[in-house]
Symmetry: C2
DNA sequence: GATGGCCTGATTGTCGGACAATCATACGAT
DNA sequence: ATCGTATGATTGTCCGACAATCAGGCCATC
């Protein structure tokens, strides 16, 4: 008979402080935009040193729960922006040796349904945003960096047009990986830019007409085209990104 | 004629240090499992104070790039685990007032294709893992907490069986929200547990037979059933979770 | 030889205090 | 009303300190 003891875990103070503040934010006791007390004040309230508070703040900051309005000193409670939290996810995936194929396959599954939903739910504003993104890609795609950025931005607009935050956020890490993976392909395939622009225009058009079926179809083709691009650029699909 | 100046941005030291270390990890100069130098040593190398180093470490730690092996003092480089990074995402979504409908819709789009791919790519080990998860739900579902946890775990096994890390990670934030949303439903609908167990068994069976078409279909039904559950529990779908 | 106790150095977690740079605000001069 | 200035609050960074813990070596005991 082996006696088992539970692991006794001693949580360092900075993490307790972080947890305490995070809980207040999650419970909405601290609302968005509200300013956090000063560090010395927090230290006093928690009964710990300011250094300890600061370490806790760094943790919350990188989790997106706190931010500093530019040109301000006090930290304010913030609802984490999608891009911010997704960055960690993209980084994690990159470190896990994600391959071109994995990203492409995920896009294949995720984007067509999103286009379909976007076609149903889009507002006029979404459509304008989409049209603007499409135009930006068409007009400003000479620099590789700008081109891939605008391409990702188009997907982001589609995501917003779904009016489903979960979907919008789910695709964000993908887009974080799409950029580097597009970057190595787009310059090796001369016709890539034109094909992407054409695909965007078609998708824009059918989303404009609220033709969800067509939106799904064209988006699927758009994604398939990416794969063709990789093959034309002679990039092995099982090669890791970045 | 207005003269425009670029915003001059002064990055605090702790963030520079964090960025410097992160870059080394991303570039794989520091490999997984490798131990980071001690704080005093880092402070010496960067030419900053130990407090500054510590704030940087907290940032990297919460991003998952560093971790401390339990019972160890030195921090080691780590590849962020899916659950860890997804937690921030779930938290972000919760703060953005995500509704039951949004989660459900995302599941609707994401899970059936995942089941389909899992049916194609699953190994024997994946299948065993899936069977074990299914069994755990069937046998140990009295406690609400355990039930929802096992239910989410089943989806995680499907995710792993796809052998696509991107898809596996994309669903993780969803599962983080599935748990609280299931929790409020499962006890109000007496037949929920039995229906979930039955659905899992059917999905397990067709994934076992590598019948990808059937896997997609049954998974779709499984997800539709969740919605029915919400309606039976008289939960408004446009109500926010938690 | 294996086990356990003990010592020493290294490392982290936390503390207290310090100071320059910046921000917020009020006050006063023009 | 606009601008400059004084003042206090706050952050970023530094220094030094100490207890608790960890890693490893040494030694006695069985």
């Amino acid at each position: 008979m082996s006696v088992e003891f539970d692991q006794i875990l001693l949580v360092p103070g900075y993490r307790k402080v972080a947890a305490a503040i995070a809980e207040r934010i999650l419970s909405r006791e601290l609302r968005e935009g509200e300013r956090l007390p000063a560090e010395t004040e927090l230290a006093r309230q928690f009964g710990v040193n300011r250094s300890t508070v600061r370490e806790a703040l760094r943790e919350l900051e990188s989790g997106g729960l706190l931010e500093r309005r530019p040109g301000s000193k006090l930290m304010t409670v913030s609802r984490p922006q999608h891009r911010a939290v997704a960055k960690d996810v993209s980084r994690a995936l990159a470190l896990h040796d994600v391959t071109f194929f994995e990203v492409w396959e995920a896009l294949t599954q995720l984007e067509p349904p999103m286009a379909e939903i976007a076609a149903r739910n889009r507002t006029q504003i979404d459509l304008d945003c989409l049209a603007a993104a499409c135009q930006r890609f068409t007009e400003d795609n000479l620099e590789t960096g700008k081109a891939v950025h605008h391409a990702a931005e188009f997907f982001r607009c589609v995501g917003r047009a779904t009016h489903n935050q979960v979907l919008g956020l789910a695709q964000e890490p993908l887009l974080g990986l799409l950029e580097p993976s597009l970057r190595v392909m787009i310059d090796k395939v001369p016709q890539a830019r034109a094909r992407i622009a054409a695909a965007q225009r078609r998708i824009l058009e059918v989303i404009g007409k609220r033709d969800s079926e067509a939106a799904r179809t064209w988006m699927a083709k758009h994604i398939r085209d990416f794969r063709k691009g990789y093959e034309l650029a002679e990039i092995a699909l099982d090669c890791r990104i970045a």
